[in-house]
């Protein structure tokens, strides 16, 4: 009896241990490439990716094959990236993976991804901002399959009711500066007696870095020095103070709010919204709202239009032993046909000139304004291996400055944040 018990216990134990064993992502077949993507197969983007991979498998039948795995990314960025980090430590990265633009430097610096210059056949077709975000140490490590952009969505009816003449609104050629933009807000707040624009201050994530850094660049300021070695004298200079004063004024004067109503622009609560290209897709469900898009307002000192850019990219892991097949897959996914498919499906901006031509007639006027703004003024986020910390400190600066009572001394706030950045950079 006792022996029986012991046997059962050992059996249970071995079962647990074997059940815990996993298998890596790589497969034995030398021409079968594994691909991990950060989206779910339910999304338009995921469906487009699946379709592209299916086409690849048809076209290269007998030569190469690709297997796509969907690992959705959570709101806060977990999920997919956790899986990548875990795969890194167990040496089981897939042959091809997707990564967000700002991660290029960290991944390349760590030797996780391989340079792919030689595999990309249409490099000259890609937009400069795409090349910029995928380049580290003068080599191309990753290629963005779409671009993103942000504009100011405005409600035409609410504008007209407030006496704003729509024909006088700014364009990409002739943008407004911050003062003109604030005057517009003043008009709307006076008319409706509530905030005029939802700038997404409640989204305490990469959004605050992505959407608000262009204001600083327009003013001629920067987050860290060009060589990425210091923030001292950069992020606490006069330009940064001016930019943050403008952002603080937006809240202090009641033009914007830190606690916007959910989908407030969509439900005509606010007359304006600082929104990305994905907002265009959302607005399809609100057909009654007639809206337009304005470009970013510019600094009165420079009048230079700057808009955010950047997106997810494809890259090849440095550990793959199937460079040819992986390279062929990335190149196939970057072809005009594949890029056009994903751009239209996902309502994002094109990453290549040929794709702009393809989609220009297919997309709305509003989307074309974002495409135009992107081509004229896209600015990639800094290429830094310490990007996550620098980005978070920047996000917290934006969030903190909206508390104007606690932080009316903007210079002091910036000095404190620069100190934090210095600790990270050194």
């Amino acid at each position: 009896m006792k022996r029986m018990v012991v046997l059962v216990a050992w059996a249970l134990m071995t079962l647990i241990i074997t059940a815990c064993g996993g298998d890596g992502a790589g497969s034995k077949d030398n021409n079968a490439v594994s691909l991990w993507v950060h989206t779910s197969d339910e999304t338009p983007e995921g469906k487009a990716m699946q379709a592209i991979v299916d086409r690849f498998n048809q076209e290269y039948e007998g030569t190469y094959s690709a297997d796509i795995e969907f690992i959705p990314r959570s709101e806060s960025g977990g999920g997919y990236e956790d899986k990548i980090n875990a795969a890194l430590t167990t040496n089981s990265l897939p042959d091809v993976l997707t990564l967000d633009g700002p991660n290029t430097a960290a991944y390349a610096e760590a030797g996780m991804i391989a340079a792919i210059d030689e595999y990309i056949t249409n490099k000259d077709d890609l937009l400069p901002s795409i090349i910029q975000q995928g380049t580290y140490d003068e080599k191309l490590y990753a290629v963005g399959f779409s671009e993103s952009g942000v504009g100011i969505f405005y409600n035409k009816e609410m504008f007209e009711e407030a006496g704003v003449d729509l024909s006088t609104l700014p364009t990409v050629e002739e943008p407004w500066d911050w003062d003109q933009f604030m005057a517009l807000n003043e008009t709307l707040v006076t008319k409706y007696d509530k905030p005029a624009i939802d700038m997404g201050f409640n989204d305490q994530s990469e959004w605050l870095m992505y959407a608000f850094s262009p204001f600083l660049w327009s003013q001629g300021g920067n987050i860290v020095s060009e060589d990425g070695s210091t923030a001292e004298g950069v992020f606490n200079d006069e330009n940064a103070v001016k930019t943050l004063t403008f952002i603080q004024t937006m809240i202090e004067e009641g033009y914007s709010t830190i606690t916007p109503v959910e989908k407030g622009f969509h439900t005509e609560e606010y007359a304006m919204k600082l929104g990305g290209s994905w907002t265009i897709a959302e607005m399809e469900e609100y057909p009654d709202v007639a809206y337009g898009i304005m470009p970013y307002p510019t600094s009165p000192d420079t009048d230079e239009l700057v808009s955010p850019s950047g997106s997810w990219q494809y890259a090849m892991s440095a550990t793959t032993d199937k460079e040819e097949a992986a390279g062929a897959l990335i190149d196939f996914m970057m072809s005009t046909e594949s890029l056009t498919e994903i751009t239209l499906a996902n309502s994002v901006l094109p990453a290549a000139y040929s794709v702009i031509e393809e989609v220009q007639g297919e997309v709305s006027d509003e989307m074309n304004i974002l495409i135009e703004q992107n081509a004229a003024s896209a600015h990639a986020r800094p290429v830094l291996s310490q990007y996550p910390q620098i980005s978070r400190i920047f996000q917290q600066t934006i969030s903190d400055v909206t508390y104007y009572e606690e932080n009316n001394d903007i210079q002091a706030l910036l000095n404190e944040k620069v100190q934090q950045m210095e600790n990270v950079l050194n």
């Binding site: 006792k2 134990m13 647990i16 430590t89 409640n202 305490q204 830190i258 109503v261």
Partner: protein, 291 residues
């Protein structure tokens, strides 16, 4: 093989799966964390790890956010324990008094415990929404000002205290209830004969006999409270102005978002020592032999 030996073999065989799992997922990681704390381990480059001595620890003592996180967790713990344990005891006494029809109340008070913390946090996010939330709508309708529960640096941590106490009280209520039902009726009957009033009965009989239960609840609540992460992560992302960042959340951010495993491990070690000291003080104050 004598009886004893054979029993030992059987016992250890049964323990083996648990011991192996504990070793794999608790003991080995803990030892590794202590080792990593003295290195500059960067998540993406495990091979370039270097021994850096006490550098991480020196850095931590200069880190304003870590200090802020300790301050926040102290506020949280000192507020949440009396509220949570107090309401748990109150609920247990109420339910214990009326033996009939208390199933409904038991389930009602216990239900937040079985829901996931993420769900609870999202639920309260909706309820506390400044413009559309139920709570503020009620406040406005009874003539009060709407409150920035989660968007004010002065209120956010107390809002999280309230939500956490609401979530956890049901579980401790059940433990108190078990403790109450273990008190023999004969003691109360004897007290009745001596003409003791309700208040005296509670102070001199119920409380002393509940002491072991209370100590157990105090210790478990304290340790759980120190590990707060999910509520601030979902509800405030540590903001506004770092007023709700907690040590565990900051360690998570540093380790996984910023990829500084070495630095995060060092914070883990310091934080582990702090919890150890607090638990030690507590067990000294409430002599362990009472349990």
């Amino acid at each position: 093989m004598n009886i004893n030996k054979r029993e030992n073999v059987a016992a250890y065989s049964f323990l083996a799966p648990t011991l192996i799992l504990l070793g794999l997922f608790l003991i080995i990681p803990a030892v590794l964390a202590i080792y990593y704390a003295f290195t500059d381990y960067y998540l993406l480059t495990p091979d370039r790890r270097q021994f850096v001595g006490l550098d991480n620890f020196i850095e931590i003592f200069k880190d304003p956010i870590f200090k802020q996180s300790l301050k926040n967790i102290l506020i949280f713990v000192t507020c949440v324990i009396p509220i949570q344990v107090g309401s748990a005891l109150g609920l247990a006494l109420l339910i214990n008094k009326q033996r009939k029809g208390n199933i409904f109340f038991k389930v009602a008070f216990f239900s937040p415990v079985v829901l996931s913390l993420v769900v609870i946090s999202v639920l309260w996010l909706y309820l506390l929404n400044p413009s559309e939330g139920l709570v503020n709508n009620v406040l406005v309708n009874i003539g009060l000002n709407p409150q920035p529960f989660l968007s004010s640096p002065n209120q956010a941590i107390y809002t999280i205290v309230f939500v956490s106490a609401w979530q956890g009280a049901g579980y401790q209520m059940l433990i108190f209830l078990a403790g109450l039902q273990n008190i023999p009726n004969t003691v109360y009957e004897a007290a009745d004969i001596d003409g003791v009033n309700k208040w005296q009965r509670f102070i001199h009989i119920t409380m002393p006999l509940l002491k072991p239960t209370s100590i157990l609840i105090m210790i478990t609540t304290l340790i759980a409270a120190f590990k707060l992460i999910i509520q601030p992560m979902v509800m405030t992302q540590g903001g506004p102005m770092n007023s709700t960042i907690t040590p565990v959340y900051y360690i998570y951010q540093t380790g996984f978002s910023d990829r500084m495993i070495g630095y995060a491990s060092a914070m883990t070690v310091i934080f582990g020592i702090l919890i150890g000291i607090v638990t030690l003080i507590q067990s000294k104050v409430t002599k362990e032999d009472d349990i």
